[in-house]
Symmetry: D2
Subunit: 292 residues, 4 copies
């Protein structure tokens, strides 16, 4: 989390012009969104700020909405060659659109042309969290959608793009945290004494261990984790030392345990939320889900 | 899988003396086990061969069984310094018993002394698949067990140790394989078109990708995997490209998928068996288990 | 399954006029659907026959499709008073639309009026499998849908209605069956020796036990169940004698088992399909899903 | 819950002689257990009281323990004919031991004789919650156990028997309650607006609905359920109106939902505990477990 992020209280206190200047590029070629949102201050959270910006778009009449959608750049090497906004350049380059081989490039152009002919505006995707596989899989599906359903999808992507751009600029409210809870389904009781680690994927793809603890008698950790502003958006992984736990309880001979260490990868896309990840564990099966 | 492994048909055909010489060290300081098993040939599988060897031990009268258990070396740095069988030296060294710090070494000695005083024979553990954490966790638990339960555990460990030593010497029958099967619980239907990879942990701890495929309409792969003798004992990991699958089906905006790529680590300890690993998948949860 | 159902081979062999007469009421006020489908004979299954009929509707131009949708009766007491097709009379009466109290009746009329004003055709729902709670919950949701999404839902309901009417008239191909498979996740192995029963809900709501068996070593039954034409559409329930299984394996003292007998209710809406219902079982948890 | 149960505070306040008289029959033919426990008063809960009684048994030297075990009556029709304690008469009769057919009776006698020859005391089982199937399944398994393991099982059954007899006499502390929590794994979010009922099995086997509510936005109910002393030991069943929930969210056409209403049966054997039952729900699968 860069230390130069704007604080919410600073955003709430600055002039409307400064506010609009700070958040102008959050929506592509639509600085008016930030200008309108300035009037809805103060915001208690980034979530509320984002909602106010989306409300401004939701209030557009159909023609203006179409113009707004058309203000987004096509996803293509050609867009990068011609130049686009700084944000889109970074995002499209990260996806590798500047280095597609000829086949993929031609396939992308065919999809772009078909999409624009069908819907009247460019295909919009939050590419920073996408891979090329995701791009093409999503593109094929959405090309076949109805105009109404597709407009809803395009707006959902714009919501995702603008949210990530907000996270680049403003410090989230310190309301988020993570937790886990392990239930031993052999004994129908919490799994205490289980070694747990939390890892985070860094920008270069490497995983860094950021926490390690042993579950308490309730199968959880004592207190909240990564709370008070420590939680950042990104990809995380819980790692559970299940072989040692099984050995301690005599559930399986260490040499013949079926399950290896259990890993659960999850994405924190809103660091103002709580991400609770339970694990239901037995020697022959496990289940994980997003709890609440 | 080393190419110099003995073939089962060669073992079945050789002289009893050669058979006993080949498999003598499989049970610690008990070459008579291999000698007796020679008479039960031919064996259709390593599993059958191992069972014949265990049956020989199971037939021991109580006093002889105690002597057999006492023939196992204590797990300790001292054992390594004094010298023990080649097999035990490799195994105990791999666990790091030659390099314990003073505290752990003293703790281990205390546990060894308490265990031997209580049960009359050394603590036996299949250390090759254990970590120090597993060693100590298991030791504490088993020290508190009843003599009968503990003897059963010691024999289970001897079964595991001898099995691994057999795998070092003899080529398994080509009956094993692996498979996976993915069910999409949103649609209550197989998850076709999902990218899947199979990775294997190498001796140095690195992971190597050994297979990649896309699930067919039944959510599985076409044909058996790693069959015909290709499956080795070891640790494997299925990796499922769930984000792309969710994006294709519109289950989640790629930028806001909760689940990352799903990984399921499992251990193949008997390469003559089939390891079937189903995955029940939805955007908010997944379950995996050992199927059949 | 009434014995006077028409057989598929009889349908395939009869004159086009007889075919159309037999299946005319399957689509409401649209006997032309059956007439067109007659030309696509022979059909190997009811599933194929139904698909041919739906294809005829799918080929309608927009105006004709709207007319077809408008041919469906409003769901209301008024429709029943005025009279409608025999099929709709039975279906709406079964739901209780002839006996709504004044409040619900008024609520339904408001919903009907709002729906028809918004979409231009009556609200269509396969009411035979619905309850009043389902009716109102679905109505509110669909009233808020987009015209395109709602037309797709209306057609899905017509598909469901016509399918049930087909099942009333024609004997399904004998390709369906049911099965179950129980995995013991404590031992990571199939749950053999478990008592299982299959119950079916009769027309009067009572449950009848139709099968009972003990799982084999693979945690399943020997052979297929309800195959060869014995499977009918309807609601079924698997009942597993888990307390006895847990007691036999010593997983829980019978007096202190957390789980009671496990019941899994499922609906067979296409008796030409196979319904496989696995159960993953441990003393503290269970998971069931539609397998394949 | 009979209104004439003794209150814990009354038990704590009465004379040691009255205490011993009140609880004398809780352990079969061992009134001294209650006499000893009187000295450990006051008890904050039935759980604590029971623990004090079990501690008295745990302190017995081996010979005295064997005598205590031998004080239990054989499970058989003969025992009932000859007469035994009032409690055992009720319990064995409820299981149907007075009305076994000749084959089962002979089988039971063979098992009893084999067991007593092997272990030196009668087979002890908490029969009130057992069925004949459970009785025989458990008997076969325990007959094959080691003496140590079997003594532990016999004591566990005595714990269960005496616990049920305590529940017949003393009102539990009002610390228990039940709850449920439903997660929608399609949306990775709580399942709000889901109809839930709680049913209880009455003495005659009939089910009575005791609670009905609709889940709040967190997928749970507001406040605790059956708290403040309302929770009794017994068998309960959660029933979830999943078809209506799926219809409201458009997950499945009501006519083609795979899952029927979900039922989860569970046993409250300690009404001073909290029983939390989560449900993870999607159209194609569900998972339930004992939470905490």
């Amino acid at each position: 989390m860069p230390s130069d992020l704007i604080r919410l209280d600073a955003l709430n206190a600055m002039s409307a012009a400064d506010f609009a200047a700070s958040l102008g590029p959050v929506f592509e070629n639509a600085p008016w969104v930030a200008q309108q949102a300035a009037a809805a201050r103060p915001f208690a959270s980034l979530t509320d700020l984002h909602k106010a910006m989306l409300d401004a778009i939701g209030a557009l009449p159909p023609e203006a909405l179409l113009g707004f959608l058309r203000g987004h750049p096509r996803l293509s090497a050609e867009t990068l060659r011609r130049g686009t906004t700084a944000e889109s350049t970074v995002e499209q380059t990260a996806l590798g659109l500047d280095a597609l081989d000829a086949d993929l490039s031609a396939q992308l152009e065919r999809l772009n042309a078909a999409y624009e002919a069908r819907f009247g505006y460019p295909f919009i995707l939050a590419v920073r969290k996408a891979s090329l596989a995701t791009l093409f899989a999503t593109f094929e599906r959405r090309l076949a959608a109805s105009p109404e359903a597709e407009r809803a999808e395009a707006l959902a992507e714009i919501s995702a793009i603008s949210w990530m751009r907000l996270l680049d600029r403003v410090r989230a409210a310190p309301t988020g945290s993570v937790s886990t809870h392990v239930l031993d389904t052999v004994r129908a009781a919490p799994a205490g004494g289980l070694g747990v680690e939390l890892w985070r994927r860094e920008g270069d793809g490497a995983m860094t261990r950021i926490l390690a603890f042993v579950t308490n008698d309730d199968g959880a950790c004592d207190g909240a984790l990564l709370d008070g502003g420590a939680l950042c958006a990104g990809t995380y992984e819980w790692r559970y030392d299940t072989p040692t736990y099984f050995a301690r309880h005599g559930y399986s001979t260490p040499a013949r345990a079926y399950l290896g260490k259990v890993r659960v990868a999850f994405t924190v896309w809103n660091p103002e939320e709580h991400f609770h990840v339970p694990l239901l564990l037995s020697p022959g099966a496990y289940t994980t889900y997003r709890g609440s």
